[in-house]
Amino acid sequence: MSRRKVTVAVTGLNNIDSPGPGIPVIRGIRESADLDARIIGLAYEHLEPGIYMKDLVDKTYMIPYPAEGKDALFERLMEIHSKEALDIIIPNFDAELFSFIKLEKKLAEAGIKTYLPSIQQFEERNKSNLSAYGDKYGITVPRGTEVFSIQDMNNTLRSMNYPVMVKGKYYDAYTAHSFEQAASYFEKLTAKWGFPVIIQEYIRGTEVNIVALGDGEGNLIACVPMRKQYITDKGKAWGGITIDDDSLHQLARKIFSLTKWKGGMELELIRSSSNELYLIEINPRIPAWVYLAVGAGQNIPEALVKLTLGIDVKPFTRYDVGKMFVRYSYDMIVDLELFSRLTTTGEL
């Protein structure tokens, strides 16, 4: 059977120490036996490593930062579309998802498909709404509050015990053991991600994550839980192992069935010392460790592309337990000419 040709645009090519999911997503798509994909990278920074990985990314275009608004993004995507005839876009950053969801209809009219949650689904799982999310769906979550100023944070911290988690709106989280520490993290996070900052109860225990894919009808198409084995100073998994714990699968099924989430998702959980499972965060996209799921037998990026194309995808029923990933860094040698072409023309 011949493989179906498809042009897929992917963001998140920043394969750095806090990696974006773009490159592992592309690896999954490239390994598909059914798809013959041309991969178009969409990059925000000139030094996103994926831009220069020519065996994985066929062509890359610079796109405007989310702060420039969805109209600027749409205009740029249409320029790219006129050259590349995009079939699909897979956005991989939390910060850009709002714009892509808002543009979903216009993109579809232009012939570009996406596979994204609704704005309501996207908003309700926001870090700052996690307590309400837990109440609504009957899921155990740590106590959390959003704060907009140091004074606000001071008031919140009076009723909490240290340590506490101090989290940015989109990314980054720190453990603070005193008000002074929390205040310094507050400044750091607001400078980078803006307001609010989320103050969350600290749960002691073992962190486990789940990568999952939903079809928007309440069905869980893919689900692979992973225990981090090696964590960087940024809290990112540099090594991990697939695990088999039915309570994790049950929780994922419950969330997808109740919320009817459409697209990729990462659930971040902590198993407390008293064996209780806390949902600490929901990331509204595929995580950077997704290639572990591919290696364990669930090619989630491929399934996502197929669902986006309207191809029927049966839920995965198994994966290899005890499959590990070990991340590594690698220096590419890049000619200045490539860099200069990208910076001057916005494409490479």
């Binding site: 073992t206 486990v208 992973m226 225990r227 084995q229 991990g240 192992i241 697939t242 695990i243 088999d244 714990d245 198993r271 337990v321 005890g322």
Partner: protein, 82 residues
């Protein structure tokens, strides 16, 4: 006393708990004890067999075995007693 059914134990003493992702390496005696538990032997029988095989006084052996079983329990490798 039972080792959880899904716990994987390899020939070289590597133990993997697929529910938690924890892994451990056992020395030879640890591996022997785990194998005997897996075979369904109770603590008295394991104590007897180890005492026959190794040059160790009974009190020390019982203390070591109690510590080891406690570790297995702490690391979530034993089935909970019904």
């Amino acid at each position: 006393m039972l080792i959880k059914e899904n716990i994987a134990l390899s020939e070289n003493g590597f133990v993997f708990n697929p529910s938690t992702g924890d892994s451990f390496t056992m020395n030879n005696t640890g591996k022997e004890v785990i194998m005997m538990i897996k075979e369904g032997k109770d603590l008295n029988r394991i104590t007897e067999l180890m005492a026959e095989k190794y040059d160790v006084d009974r009190n020390t052996l019982e203390r070591y075995l109690a510590d080891f079983l406690n570790d297995l329990n702490v690391y979530n490798l034993l089935e909970e007693e019904k």
